[in-house]
Each structure stands twice: as structure tokens, then as C-alpha cells.
Symmetry: C2
């Protein structure tokens, strides 16, 4: 039989490299992942890596882009499940916290990503998951459900709080219990932004 078209082979090669790198970065961290090792694991060499991604860093960018797309899709799925916009927003944030509990996301997106690529805000494709939060907040403000003067700024703060919450949870002795505390405190924090804020929780 005739071989697959070339473009498809290339896409496969790139996908293999991204997958192998993602696994290695997630398992041992970016710095400890040997290019020779994980390219060999994918049946390739460093030559392919440099050709397609320019280097280790370029490959990390590709991995991050992939993970970010998955996260964004998951977040959108969460908020879509709630008819009440406010509740949708809150659960979206909670979903963000919970995703960041996954070791791969933590290691790659929260630790190595910022350290290697500089901080996330000037990544080529500014993380979709932050944009997602911003958009949700903007909608709430437009609907008069949130009393916030600057939705974008607030969204950034909120995403920062979520991120920190998940780091905290993931490294506590009792993640279950800590998760409950963090989510509760987080909901309280958001409640303060709501129109007509009924302060006692």
C-alpha cells in the first residue's frame, strides 16, 4: 500500500514529540528531562526536535499550548453546566483550582512554564484559561450581578488566588480537607464581589 501523505507523517512526528516531552516534563520536570532520552522514547532523535521546535524551549511551548487548550475546554464545559451565571462563574473558578491539583498541570503549567518562559502573561498565546475567567466576569458585570469596576484586573486577581489555592491544596498533608477549606474561603472571597454583597457566609 502507498504510504500516508507526507503532511500526515509530519503531524505524527510532531505529536509524538509533544507527547513524549509532555510525559517527561510532567514526570521529572523540565530541567531533568533529557532530550536524548525522551526523543529516543518516541523513536526519534534530537535532530527531529530541533527541526520542528527549534529547541527544548520551543517544545515546552508546544506542550503548554496543548495543555492550555485542554484546560480551557474543560473550564468552558464546567461553566456551561450551570444556568445561573454567578454560580457558573464560581464553579468555573473551583474547576480551575481542581485542575491545578493534577501533578502534570502543576509541574508544567505552574512551575516550569513560568520559570522557563517567563511569566504567563506574556506567553505567545496568553493562557486561554485566564481569558475564560475574564470573559465570565465581564458578563456578570454586564448583567449587573457583580459589582466590579475593572473586570479584567479582577479576573487576574481571582485567577491568581485560585492558582495559589491549588498549590496549597496539592501540598498539604490532607488534600481533601484542605480543598474544602480553600474552596470555602474562595467562595467567600468571590461573594464579596457580588452585587448587594450579603457579607456573612
Amino acid at each position: 500500500m502507498a504510504h500516508k501523505p507526507r503532511s500526515e507523517m509530519i503531524a505524527e512526528t510532531r505529536a509524538k514529540l509533544v507527547a513524549a516531552a509532555r510525559e517527561a516534563f510532567g514526570r521529572v520536570g523540565y530541567a531533568n528531562a533529557s532530550m536524548d532520552d525522551f526523543t529516543a522514547g518516541a523513536g526519534l532523535t534530537r535532530g527531529a526536535l530541533y527541526h520542528h521546535f527549534g529547541g527544548k524551549q520551543g517544545l515546552l511551548e508546544a506542550v503548554i499550548t496543548q495543555i492550555d487548550a485542554e484546560m480551557t475546554a474543560r473550564l468552558n464545559g464546567v461553566s456551561a453546566r450551570f444556568s445561573d451565571p454567578w454560580q457558573g462563574f464560581v464553579e468555573e473558578c473551583v474547576g480551575y483550582i481542581e485542575m491545578a491539583l493534577e501533578p502534570e498541570i502543576q509541574r508544567i503549567m505552574l512551575l516550569d512554564g513560568p520559570a522557563v518562559l517567563g511569566n504567563p502573561f506574556n506567553w505567545p498565546n496568553q493562557p486561554g484559561c485566564i481569558r475564560s475567567l475574564t470573559n465570565s466576569l465581564k458578563r456578570l458585570v454586564a448583567d449587573g450581578q457583580a459589582d466590579v469596576a475593572d473586570p479584567e484586573a479582577t479576573a487576574r486577581l481571582v485567577s491568581g488566588a485560585s492558582l495559589h489555592a491549588s498549590l496549597w491544596i496539592a501540598n498539604s498533608d490532607d488534600p481533601e480537607a484542605t480543598s474544602k477549606r480553600a474552596v470555602a474561603a474562595f467562595k467567600r472571597l468571590l461573594e464579596g464581589l457580588r452585587t448587594g454583597a450579603p457579607s456573612s457566609g
Copy 2:
């Protein structure tokens, strides 16, 4: 004259290494700082480094400990300048944001530190600057000025928000303007935690 006592010489050596490493880590980042280079800059060799700190990572820990102590002292100084406890707390948070604007703090404490040592919450000496925020919040709650069920959890969220805010500011095109937005949004966020929350800012 007789030489200085040995213990003093040792302290000097350690201090020289920490200072040289701090400068190098802050300037080019942990990964790009060559041990040979910056030890030579301090008039020493890698031998001294391994002897005193066990390795590059141990030296990073020492640098972080030093910076964290400075940050904590500065934060305490800030909150002490305000007689109103609530205002003191707010300004302490703002101070945290502003400190994180300094490239050295950003690079070492916020980017490389977490990536190399794992996330901050299980660092040997859990960052004093976070503890400082927690204590301030606890006092506010005790005074009935803040309506928060779990001060520690809330302090972590707040510090996460501050941290993110400073990353945002530092990388914006117009740090001045962004800083104003971030601080404003941040104050609004905190306002929501206040007892009797008057929501409109």
C-alpha cells in the same frame, strides 16, 4: 595583627557566596547562572560552595531565606506605620505587590524558587511574608473588622492574588497605569471581606 577568628572568616565566606549567587540568580536566572562563574566572582571556587551548601540548590535555599527575611521585615514595617488595623492590612498587601515588582524578587522568589524547590508552601522555612499576612488578617478577624471564617485560608488566597497582580504589573507595557488598576481592583477585593461590606467603591 592576628587574623580574625575562624568562625568570622567562615561567616564571611558564606555571606560572599550567598551575595554572589543572589546577584547571579537575580540577573540571569538560576539555570543560567554558572557556579564556576559566580564563585570565581566572589574570589572562591565551587569547592567552597559544595562544602558549605551541598550544591547549587542548597545555595538557592540560602539566598531565598535571606530575601524572605528582608521582605518580612519590610512588610512589618509597612503595617506598623498605620494606626488603623484595616488600613494597615491593606497597605501591607499593597506593599507585597510592590515588592514583587523588583526583578530580583520576581526572578528568585516567584519564578525560580518554586520551579527548583517545589512550591513555596513546603519550603523549609515557609515564607515569612505569607505568615505575616496571615497574622494581620487573624488580628482583624479577632477585632471584628473582617468577616472571614478561615483567616489562614483567606490569607493564602490574598497573597496569591497579590503575587499574581505583581506579575501582571511587571510585565505590562505601562507598569504605572497597570499598577493603579491592580491596586484598585485589589482594594475592592479586600473590601468585600470587611465587616458590613459597603460594596460600591
